[in-house]
């Protein structure tokens, strides 16, 4: 189980807000910290890995749970 530094619940937010909030949250973390993002936006399943790759912040885990999409992103 990866240790989570901070959880960002972006449930209910519509595109582009989940990514906008994720970026803001990661800006406030230190290298190596892990952000847990919770989203209900189906588009996140595609956007979050794409954004993580584009910005070089490793996506450690992604899963779907009861209609919510959960991601663990590490700050590079």
């Amino acid at each position: 189980m990866t240790a989570v530094t901070k959880t960002l619940d972006a449930s209910g937010l519509a595109c582009p807000m989940p990514i906008v909030r994720t970026r803001q949250a990661l800006d406030g973390l230190a290298t190596g910290d892990v952000l847990e993002l919770i989203s209900t936006d189906r588009g996140s399943w595609r956007d979050v890995p794409a954004w993580a790759e584009s910005t070089g912040n490793p996506l450690l885990e992604s899963r779907e749970e009861d209609g919510r999409f959960i991601f663990l992103i590490q700050k590079a």
Binding site: G12, L13, A14, C15, P16, D41, G43, R46, A50, S54
Partner: protein
């Protein structure tokens, strides 16, 4: 023990509610796909006695009329609501008693003139929760510009007073259960909480913390973003007593039938991921990715009563899209097909759409392409590509003629979803589109010229 169960519709940013004492149930603001509510009612063996509407909805087709018909429940709306069907009309101060549930009607105009909230009490009279519809939302309020431009200021004043009234008559611990929020365009601002109480709202609800009514109204009106054009059709549809959504797909089409549909002017929507579409698609089909925003973008682009054909990866995706679109009254489905079962390789209408990134755009010269930003005004205002031309997505259908012909159009948005749909619209109109599948978030200024300027 009274329970409130929330039934979420994330693609519209809406919630419906079922409240029960364990035997009897009341449903508030149900959506059109009744199977979700009926499953709850049947699993728990409840008797549905009432279906309540907080207002005649502007953002979705109600399932209330059909649900009441189907179950024999009493259909409750404001007595002043102008609707085509029989219903139990209520007014401010009325009380509905059913089993161990008491619901008190509070007239809370603002989002609409006849909008009601329902305060839930147990038989001892203790207030437990309040169904606030589009009035008091989580840290926000329902927008007041959906009825008539001439009424907006009056409705804004009413909304301020309605939210304050709810906070005045209900104690802090009462749970707030709004219908709108969660990404809905009916919310005046983005809401972030997923649960709340009257006490929590006192700390940051704009209507409760504003210094005065005037300040509140100015802030509310200046912060409103565009709402989907399909909204104009919802209230009339709801007033007519809409039937339930039937999850039945039409027969699958083959490639010649799909081509015929395109030629006949049907709106053929390809639900696949932008890369699959970019790799190979049929000219004249539009890339409306299956995401929560599908109803919003389709509602902005496709005429309300247009015939549609859905193409998707598989039957499940197509059925999901059909359900999402039916909730907003888009139900003229003329056909569908799973792309995995089709072969259009080498067809004269087969096309591919180049998928690129901002770094690729940097390698092109300004006079050899057009750069198109399809984000909303507030996103554009926060920063944009220096060479970009701006047409907000919701205006694209009307303004596509403004795009200069004869050179590729590189289209971008915040994450690429609106852009791929826009690029396919441009291609259908005869342009050569390039999809910038990249990120341009609020505040970003993409492009190497901008980066160089920033570095120096």
């Amino acid at each position: 023990m009274i329970e409130v169960v929330s039934i979420d519709t994330p693609s519209l940013g809406d919630r419906s509610y079922l409240t029960t004492d364990g035997e009897v149930a009341v449903v508030v603001d149900p959506q059109r796909d009744l199977d979700r509510v009926m499953r709850l009612v049947e699993e728990r063996q409840l008797r549905l006695s009432h279906v309540l509407e907080t207002h005649v909805h502007n953002d979705y087709v109600t399932g209330g009329f059909a649900l009441a018909q189907h179950t024999g429940a009493t259909y409750v709306l404001n007595a002043d609501d102008d609707v085509a069907f029989d219903h139990h009309g209520v007014t401010d101060g009325d009380e509905l008693r059913t089993g161990g549930l008491i619901l008190r009607v509070v007239h809370t105009p603002g989002h609409t003139p006849t909008h009601l909230s329902y305060a839930l009490h147990d038989v001892s009279g203790k207030a437990i929760g309040v169904f606030t519809g589009g009035s008091m939302l989580f840290g926000s309020i329902g927008r007041t510009d959906l009825v008539d431009a001439a009424m907006t200021e009056t409705l804004s004043r009413s909304q301020f007073r309605s939210v304050r009234r709810l906070a005045a008559i209900l104690p802090d611990e009462v749970e707030v259960h709004p219908t709108h929020g969660f990404g809905s365009h009916c919310a005046a601002t983005q809401t972030t909480r997923s649960a709340s109480t009257i006490g929590a709202e006192r700390t940051d609800n704009p209507a409760l913390v504003a210094d005065d009514e005037g300040t509140f109204i100015r802030a509310l009106l200046s912060g409103l973003h565009p709402y989907p054009t399909y909204y104009a059709h919802m209230a009339p549809f709801n007033r007519s007593g809409p039937r339930a959504f039937e999850p039945v797909l039409p027969a699958p089409l083959d490639v010649p039938a799909i081509v015929a549909a395109v030629r006949a002017g049907s709106w053929v929507l390809d639900l696949r991921d932008r890369r699959a579409y970019g790799n190979s698609h049929l000219l004249g089909t539009l890339n409306a990715e299956l995401r929560n925003d599908l109803p919003t973008y389709v509602g902005w682009l496709v005429p309300f009563d247009a015939a549609m054909v859905l193409l998707g990866d598989d039957r499940d995706d197509i059925a999901e899209a059909q359900r999402m679109l039916a909730r907003i009254g888009y139900e003229r489905l003329a056909g569908q097909a799973a792309v995995t079962e089709l072969d259009w390789d080498g067809h004269e209408l087969e096309r591919s759409l180049r998928v690129a990134r901002f770094a690729d755009l940097d390698d092109t010269a300004a006079d050899e392409r057009t750069v198109l930003d399809v984000r909303d005004e507030w996103e554009w205002d926060s920063g944009h590509h220096p060479d970009a031309f701006h047409v907000p997505f919701h205006q694209l259908a009307d303004r596509v003629g403004e795009i200069p012909p004869g050179r590729p159009v590189w289209v971008y948005c915040a994450t690429g979803a609106r852009a791929t749909l826009a690029a396919s619209v441009l291609e259908r109109a005869g342009h050569q589109g390039v999809l910038v599948d990249d990120f341009c978030l609020p505040g970003d200024v993409p492009g190497k010229a901008a980066a160089a300027a920033k570095a120096s």
